[in-house]
Symmetry: C2
Subunit: 303 residues, 2 copies
Amino acid sequence: MDEATTRRFGAVEAGGTKFVCAIGDETGAILAETRFPTTDPLTTLRNTIEFFRARHAEFGELAAIGVGAFGPIELDRESEQYGSVLHTPKPGWSGTDLLGPLACELGVPLGFDTDVTAAALAEHRWGAARDVSDLVYVTVGTGIGGGALVGGRPVHGLMHPEMGHLFPRRHALDVEFAGVCPFHGDCLEGLAAGPAIIARSGASLDRLAPESVQWEIEADYLGQLCANLVLMLSPQRIVLGGGVMNQERLYAPIRRRLHAWLGGYIGRPEVGGTIDGYVVAPGLGARAGILGALALALDAAPR
Amino acid sequence: MDEATTRRFGAVEAGGTKFVCAIGDETGAILAETRFPTTDPLTTLRNTIEFFRARHAEFGELAAIGVGAFGPIELDRESEQYGSVLHTPKPGWSGTDLLGPLACELGVPLGFDTDVTAAALAEHRWGAARDVSDLVYVTVGTGIGGGALVGGRPVHGLMHPEMGHLFPRRHALDVEFAGVCPFHGDCLEGLAAGPAIIARSGASLDRLAPESVQWEIEADYLGQLCANLVLMLSPQRIVLGGGVMNQERLYAPIRRRLHAWLGGYIGRPEVGGTIDGYVVAPGLGARAGILGALALALDAAPR
């Protein structure tokens, strides 16, 4: 048996609503998995540790555990807060040390990044972006967040990207809506995440008629995000996931709006509005999150 | 004598208005330099080749030549157009092969990137960003362009960033002005580059009273650009250069507007609006361009 494929890795998708814990291998196969709601930090981290402890007999020592977390988080290894959640609107979680308890109780190498950067790594390794090195993964769900890889490596810099809080130009048919972001009102998340759609129209997209103007407004804001990404980060692919993007009919108008916003300035066929392969759905679907955490573990394990 | 410091390198700052050609060494010292206007491609490239030929007797064989060029340019080494200017509004230059004639006539290794990415490399190596690995260099002059380094390496991806063509939200006191960008009208370049300031107010900033609202409008648009950069690319430093930024009093209000646009969401003191060291002037001043081309040569030379 090939030694490489018998190594086992832990994965924690630490979301604001639920935690997913799993054990997998280097091929991306998940061998065990559980999920539980994100309650207070103490209970949630105890549940996480118990999941791995309980499976030690079956899977043996893990080579590493990867944690993909809701942000903002501290990624600077020089910082005393490395591994912690920073100031977050989620009650009780600001300042929570995510990695410390896992390191102390489980004693294996830990990988750590944002949930969306982890998803980008998974899409790069196993999903819709295997053939490129520079990509962005954006989730559009209860919030909007994005992670970026440049040369195959995560973009961190000052902290990490927070793409959900861009300031798009308002759509001409959406000038009255104040937006729902507690920080900014009408930033992208405040205008185009799931709660914003419901606040503006009274329903989620799947309950609205295809001819509703809400579809056009949503596609315009997300197309504008994609245009901003092309201008700022120049990715070779943009992967759009999350609950709102389950509405597959959004992709085509988003591509058209991307093209329209660029105004012909970027002379690449990928942004011409008619190429399907540039703005794409996640190849891993809703599994990008937990597989992203697994990818972080693979990168954190000793060679 | 130390062999490393005796190697000589060529540098070409290929701008839309003028070309600067120089010979330098690994310390960033410039040993010879000339400049001439950018006319037609044939004449301009012939002048470039002649500069280096004429100095062969004095400096010997160059280890490499770096070319930092106005864009858009083809940076994909797999492309047949590698080394060329792509579709540009500058008459006669679309499709011009910049590297081919230099390679053929001078026969040394060539480095190639955008003028602004080259400037970012120079600021990283010798200037205002030596202590960080993730930075953005933006020039605000007759146009607006930006180059980014992530992990010390240039961001290319699909093509290269084109930050000048972002779509800022319009300032409340600037809703009538149509903007001057031939592609987009009121994109950032169309609203905040030198020609836009003159078109809106009838004068460049240095001729306007300090209490003119034009200062506030300019700082707001550039602060919005910086906020977008923090959200998308998360640089550890933003270097703002170019002719417009010779007005030093712009930096403080730009920092304040960056802070205001972020709305307290990014909990880092660097973006708190009062830290001088995050949004900074180029350490190399107007020399960032030619030293950037020299940095490209250093990276292109055999070890």
